[in-house]
C-alpha cells in the first residue's frame, strides 16, 4: 500500500519535472530558421551536383574529353563528347550532360578527373516539376556564367 502511494506521488512529480523542462525551453531562443526567407551559409565542402570548372587563363573549360568521369560513374549519368578541331591540340568538348535523376552524389567522377575540370556546385534549391529539368547541360551552364 505504501509502495503504491509512493509510486503515485513520485510518478506525478516526474510529470511535473518534465513539464518544467519543456516550459523552460519555451522561453529560450528559437533554434530554427525560417527557410526560404532565411538561409544558412553552406559549408565549403558541400557536395551538390557537379559542374565544369573554368580555366582562369583562357576562360574555357579545363576538360580534355578523356571520359574518365563517364567510366567512373556508378550510375552512367554522365555523357561526354568531343571532336577534333583544326589548330587545337587534343579534343574539344562539344557535349557534357549530367542526368541528375540518376546521380547519387558520390564524387567518384570528381576524384577521377585528371585535369580537375569538374567540381561540386553549391546548388541545393533543386525542386522542379519536370524530369527534363534535371538533365543538366553543364557546358551551357559554364558558358552562361561567362
Amino acid at each position: 500500500m505504501i509502495d503504491y502511494l509512493r509510486e503515485i506521488i513520485s510518478g506525478t512529480w516526474s510529470l511535473f519535472v518534465g513539464l518544467g523542462i519543456t516550459i523552460r525551453y519555451f522561453f529560450k531562443p528559437v533554434v530554427t530558421v525560417q527557410y526560404p526567407h532565411q538561409t544558412l551559409p553552406m559549408t565549403p565542402r558541400f557536395r551538390g551536383h557537379i559542374e565544369l570548372v573554368k580555366d582562369e587563363e583562357t576562360g574555357a573549360t579545363k576538360c580534355i574529353v578523356c571520359g574518365m568521369c563517364q567510366k567512373a560513374c556508378p550510375s552512367n549519368c554522365i555523357t561526354v563528347n568531343g571532336e577534333k578541331q583544326e589548330g587545337v591540340k587534343g579534343k574539344v568538348l562539344t557535349e557534357y550532360t549530367l542526368d541528375f535523376t540518376k546521380c547519387s552524389l558520390c564524387g567518384l567522377c570528381v576524384e577521377s578527373c585528371p585535369p580537375k575540370a569538374i567540381a561540386f556546385s553549391k546548388d541545393y534549391n533543386l525542386a522542379g516539376v519536370k524530369k527534363e529539368a534535371y538533365i543538366f547541360d553543364l557546358k551551357k551552364r559554364l558558358e552562361a556564367k561567362n
Partner: protein, 372 residues
C-alpha cells in the same frame, strides 16, 4: 507481460500493420493474427524496398559499389562504408595510414550518436510523446553540420575510400566536435529527467517485450538488442578492428531483456561513443589521410574475405568473393536489423498491440537495411 488466454470460440482476425504505418518506420508490413487486443501470431512481410544491392555489387567495379553502402543503413551510413572498405582493403592488402583510421573512428562514432538520437526521438514518438523528438533533432543537427563540413553530405555519406578517407579534417571540425561533446553531456541529464524518469514511459517499457538471451542467440540478434538481454557482445571489443583496441570504452550490458533495458543500452552507448571521440581527438596523429600506393583499378587476389563492424544496430558483416577481376564475384551483406527483426514474431506472441509496437520501436528497425 499480460496473461494470454485464447477465447473459447477461438475466433481470430487478421490485422494488417503497414507497409505505410508510421510505427513501422518505412515500408515494413506485419501480418498480425489477433484475438481481440492480443496478438496470436505476427509475421513480418519484407520486400517492399528491395533494391538488389548484392546483385548490383556484382556488376559494377569495387569502387563503384561505395555509394550503395551509405544507402542501406541511412542512419549509420559511415559504419556501412567502413565495413565495405575494410573488407576490400583486407582482400587487396591495402595499408591504411593511422590518421585515416582515427578519422574513420571519429566520424563513425559521431554518426552512431546521431543515429541513437534519431532513434530516441522516433521511439518516444511511437509511444506518443512529441517534444523529445524536437530536442533530439536539435542535437542531431549539430552532428550533421559537423559531418557535412568534412564529408560534404548530410545523410548518405560516401566518405571512406580504399586506403583512407576522402579528405582531411580541419581545426574547426576538432573545435566543433569538442564543443558538441560538452553540449550533449550537458543535455543528457535533461533527457533523463524529461524521458527516462517519466512514469508513463516506465510503465510502457518496464517488463514489456522481454527477449531472452537464448532467443537472441537463436535468431542471431546483435547490437543493443542482445546487449539488453545480458549478452556482452560488441564487435568493437570482441573482434577489434581499426583503432578500437587503443580506445578505452565500456560496453553497456543490461540483464533484464525488456524494452527498458534496450532503451538504457542505447542511452549509455551515446556517452561511450562520446568518450571514444574525445580520446581519438586527443590522440589524433599527424600524417597523410590516404595510402600512397593504392592502384587506380582494384583487383583483389582470388579468395573469400569477411569483415564485420559494429553499427548502431548491431554487427554488420560483408563477405566478398573475388575472382581476381575488377568486379566482385559475389558480395554478401549480413545486416543486423534483419536478424533483430526475425525474433519479432516469437517475441510479441501473446502481447497487447500497443506493447508490441513499443517492442518494435525498441528494436530500432531501419527497413532499407533489412531489405537491401
Amino acid at each position: 507481460m499480460s496473461a494470454f488466454v485464447q477465447s473459447e470460440a477461438n475466433e481470430t482476425f487478421v490485422l494488417n500493420l503497414g507497409p505505410q504505418h508510421p510505427a513501422t518506420h518505412g515500408v515494413l508490413r506485419v501480418k498480425l493474427t489477433m484475438d481481440g487486443e492480443y496478438i496470436v501470431e505476427a509475421e513480418p512481410v519484407l520486400g517492399y524496398i528491395h533494391r538488389m544491392h548484392e546483385k548490383m555489387g556484382e556488376n559494377r567495379t569495387w569502387a563503384q559499389f561505395l555509394p550503395n553502402t551509405g544507402r542501406m543503413d541511412y542512419l549509420h551510413a559511415l559504419a556501412f562504408n567502413h565495413g565495405y572498405v575494410a573488407v576490400v582493403e583486407r582482400a587487396a592488402g591495402i595499408e591504411v595510414p593511422e590518421r585515416a583510421e582515427y578519422l574513420r573512428v571519429i566520424t563513425s562514432e559521431l554518426n552512431r550518436v546521431s543515429s541513437h538520437l534519431l532513434w530516441f526521438g522516433a521511439f518516444i514518438l511511437d509511444l506518443g510523446g512529441f517534444s523529445p523528438l524536437l530536442y533530439a533533432f536539435d542535437d542531431r543537427e549539430h552532428i550533421l553540420d559537423l559531418l557535412e563540413s568534412v564529408t560534404g553530405s548530410r545523410l548518405t555519406y560516401c566518405y571512406f575510400r580504399f586506403g583512407g578517407v576522402y579528405n582531411d579534417i580541419d581545426a574547426d571540425f576538432v573545435a566543433g566536435a569538442r564543443a558538441f561533446i560538452k553540449r550533449l553531456r550537458d543535455r543528457m541529464p535533461m533527457y533523463h529527467n524529461l524521458v527516462t524518469k517519466n512514469i508513463i514511459l516506465m510503465k510502457r517499457l518496464q517488463d514489456v517485450g522481454p527477449i531472452s538471451a537464448e532467443m537472441c542467440r537463436k535468431y542471431g540478434a546483435t547490437g543493443p538488442v542482445c546487449r539488453g538481454s545480458g549478452i556482452n557482445f560488441d564487435v568493437r571489443k570482441h573482434e577489434p578492428y581499426s583503432i578500437y583496441p587503443e580506445m578505452d570504452f565500456d560496453v553497456p550490458v543490461y540483464e533484464h531483456g525488456d524494452s527498458m533495458a534496450r532503451y538504457m543500452v542505447r542511452m549509455d552507448e551515446i556517452e561511450q561513443s562520446l568518450r571514444i571521440v574525445e580520446q581519438a581527438l586527443d590522440k589524433l596523429p599527424e600524417g597523410p589521410v590516404m595510402a600512397e600506393k593504392v592502384p587506380k583499378i582494384i583487383k583483389p587476389a582470388k579468395g573469400d574475405y569477411y569483415h564485420a563492424v559494429e553499427t548502431a544496430r548491431g554487427s554488420f558483416g560483408v563477405r566478398v568473393v573475388s575472382d581476381g577481376t575488377n568486379t566482385p564475384y559475389r558480395l554478401k551483406l549480413r545486416s543486423p536489423t534483419f536478424s533483430n527483426l526475425s525474433l519479432y514474431g516469437e517475441a510479441c506472441r501473446g502481447m497487447l498491440l500497443p506493447d508490441a509496437l513499443a517492442l518494435m520501436g525498441s528494436l530500432d528497425l531501419v527497413i532499407p537495411e533489412i531489405d537491401r
